[in-house]
Symmetry: C2
Subunit: 336 residues, 2 copies
C-alpha cells in the first residue's frame, strides 16, 4: 500500500505539501505541484479514507437502512440514494432492518461507529418518539417514508392519503360505488393512511364505505391472492378493489380472473407504487406512482447536506405527491 509518506519521500517534499496538492487547496508552487501530481500518478497513490475519516471526524459515507433489499421497492430506494451519494462523492453503506426495530437500531448504531453521519432511514415499525430522539442526536438523519411534525425538515414523504383519495375519486368517476379494499394486516402508517383516503373520497361525495369490504392480508402477491379469495367468499357485491400496493393488486387480479371474474369488465382493480410489475401484468395495472428513486435521491442529498452543514435545518418539509398512472385494469362500472 502506497501512503502519503511514500509520495512525499519520492517527491522530496513534506506530507503536508502532498496533502495540499491532493486537495487542490492551500498555496503550492506550480513546479512543485506538478511534480507531486506526477508522482501520485506514477505510484498510484490513493488516500486512505479511514485515516481521513479519523482526523476529519466524518467519513463521507451515506448509510441507508431499509427493511429488505431484495424487495423491488427498496432496491429502487437504494438506487436513488446511491445516485445522490455518487454525486456528492460519498460511499453507500447498506443495512437491512428485516422489519424489526431492534435490527434497525443496531444498524444505525453500527453506521455511527463508521462515522457515517448521513443516514437515510425507511422505518415502518419504530415509534415516533424513538425516531425523534434519533433525529435529534444525528443531524444527518432523514426519514424517507414518514412525516413526523416535530422533525418536519427531516422527513421526505409521500402524501399517501391524498394519493389514495385521488385514486378513489377516479374510480368513483368511473361509476364505482361498491368498492372493496385489500389492505395490509400490519395496519401501520401507509396502509392506514391509504385506507383513510379511500373513505374520505367516498364520504366527500356522500357515498358510505362498507367496512365489510375491507380484507386484511399480507402486503405481497400471495396476500393479494388470499384477499381475493376471501372477498369472493363473502358474497357481497363489489365492482372495484383498491389494493394496498401493486403486489397485492396483481395477486387480486390473477385470482379474480382464475375464478372467472373478468378484469376490468366485471371488476376493476387498482394498486399503488407503480412498480415494474404493474406494467408487466395483464391487464396493465392502473396505479399511483410512488417516485421512490427520486425521493431517495432527494433524501440522500438532504442527509448529506444536513450532516455537513451545507444546509441548515429549517421547518420546510419535503412532500411528494403521487400521480395517477392509467393502464387497463379499470373500466366503467357495470350498472345492474
Amino acid at each position: 500500500m502506497v501512503t502519503i509518506k511514500d509520495v512525499a519521500r519520492v517527491a522530496g517534499v513534506s506530507t503536508a505539501t502532498v496533502s495540499r496538492v491532493i486537495h487542490g487547496e492551500g498555496q503550492v508552487g506550480d513546479e512543485c505541484r506538478a511534480r507531486v501530481k506526477k508522482i501520485v500518478e506514477e505510484l498510484g497513490y490513493r488516500p486512505n479514507t479511514n485515516a481521513q475519516a479519523l482526523v476529519r471526524r466524518t467519513s463521507m459515507t451515506l448509510g441507508v437502512v431499509t427493511p429488505r433489499l431484495s424487495m423491488t421497492f427498496f432496491g429502487c430506494l437504494a438506487a436513488g440514494a446511491e445516485n445522490a451519494a455518487r454525486e456528492h462523492n460519498y460511499k453507500l453503506l447498506m443495512c437491512n432492518s428485516l422489519y424489526e426495530t431492534k435490527t434497525e437500531l443496531e444498524a444505525i448504531d453500527s453506521l455511527r461507529e463508521h462515522s457515517c453521519d448521513a443516514i437515510v432511514l425507511h422505518s415502518e415499525y419504530s415509534d415516533e418518539s424513538t425516531l425523534i430522539k434519533l433525529a435529534n442526536q444525528i443531524s444527518g438523519l432523514v426519514l424517507v417514508n414518514r412525516f413526523i411534525p416535530q422533525i418536519a425538515n427531516r422527513c421526505v414523504w409521500l402524501d399517501n392519503e391524498a394519493g389514495s383519495k385521488k385514486l378513489t375519486e377516479y374510480l368513483i368517476k368511473k361509476g364505482h360505488t361498491k368498492i372493496a379494499v385489500a389492505t395490509s394486516v400490519y395496519r401501520n402508517h401507509d396502509p392506514e393512511l391509504r385506507l383513510k383516503g379511500v373513505i374520505q373520497a367516498m364520504k366527500d361525495v356522500g357515498l358510505k364505505f362498507n367496512q365489510d369490504l375491507i380484507i386484511e392480508s399480507t402486503a405481497n402477491l400471495k396476500g393479494g391472492e388470499e384477499a381475493a379469495l376471501k372477498l369472493l367468499e363473502k358474497d357481497i357485491p363489489f365492482t372495484a378493489v383498491i389494493a394496498y400496493n401493486d403486489l397485492m393488486a396483481v395477486g387480486v387480479m390473477n385470482t379474480l380472473q382464475d375464478n372467472g371474474v373478468k378484469v376490468p369488465e366485471d371488476v376493476s382493480v387498482v394498486g399503488f407504487d407503480n412498480l415494474y410489475i404493474s406494467r408487466a401484468c395483464r391487464p396493465g395495472l392502473t396505479t399511483m406512482n410512488y417516485p421512490v428513486e427520486e425521493m431517495a435521491n432527494h433524501a440522500a442529498s438532504l442527509a448529506i447536506e444536513l450532516s455537513s452543514n451545507k444546509r441548515k435545518n429549517t421547518n420546510q418539509t419535503h412532500l411528494f405527491i403521487p400521480e395517477l398512472i392509467e393502464r387497463s385494469s379499470v373500466a366503467i362500472a357495470k350498472t345492474k
Copy 2:
C-alpha cells in the same frame, strides 16, 4: 463522542485494558473486567471503526459492485451478500457500476480506499485479463457471475449452458422442434452461453436449429415485447420461444397474447432467472431458477474468508446448477 480514553479515565485503567475487555481477549482481572464493562455500558461507548481499520489495516466491510441496484436481480444479489456480511459482522458497501467498465473500476478503487478488502463483483463487460489482474491484486475479490479458469476459486457461477440445455430438452420432450430464441443484443457471456445450450440440446437429438428464429433485443420487458413483434413479422412457424430471461419472457408472452396467439396453447414460452415476476404473470412462467441470493451469500462469505486468510486459495471452483421451475407457460406442441 465517547472514546476509549474516556472509558479508561472513568474506570481508572489504561486504554489497553479497555481494549482487552472490549475484545474479550487477553488477561484481565474479573473485578476489573466487570467495572470496565459497566462503564462502557453507562457511557454508551462504541469503538470507532475508522481508527480500528487504520491500525488493523482491514475494515470489516464487504464491498458489492453490481450494475444497477434497482433491478430485482441485483437487489436479490445485494440482499444475499448483506446476509453473509451481517453473519460475519461486516458492513456492506454498495456501488452501482451502471454497466460500464470505467465506473466499475472506479467503484473498486474507491472500495479499496476504504480498506475494504472483501469484494463481490458482478461484472458483465470487463474483459477477462482485467478481471484476472484485479483478482491477483485483491485477495478477497470474488466474481459472482462468471467463470474464468485462471481464477477458478474466485468464481461463484451458474452453469448457464447446462441450465439452458435442460430447459430446451424439456421443451423437446413436450414435442417442440420449431423453437425461437429471444436473446440480448449484448451477446456477452450469459446470453451466448444460454444460446449455446439451446443449440446443443437440439443437436443432441438430431434437430437443427433455425438461425432465423433468433431475435435480438434488449434484455427487459420492452425488449421481449419487441422481440415478439419481430418474430411474428417473420412469418416463420414456431411453437415455442426461449427468452434470455424472465423479463423478456413476460414481454414475449404478453405481446403474443395481445396478438391473438394463445400461450401456451399455440406457443409455449420459457424464461430464465425465476424472478418474482414469473410467479405473478399469467400464465405462470416456466423458467430456470437462478439462486442469486444463495450464490451471493456464498460469494460474500468466500470473499470475507479469503480476505481474512480464514480460507486458503485452492483450485476449487464454486458452481451452482439451475433447476427447472414448471409453471403454466408450456404445453405439448401442436402437431399440424
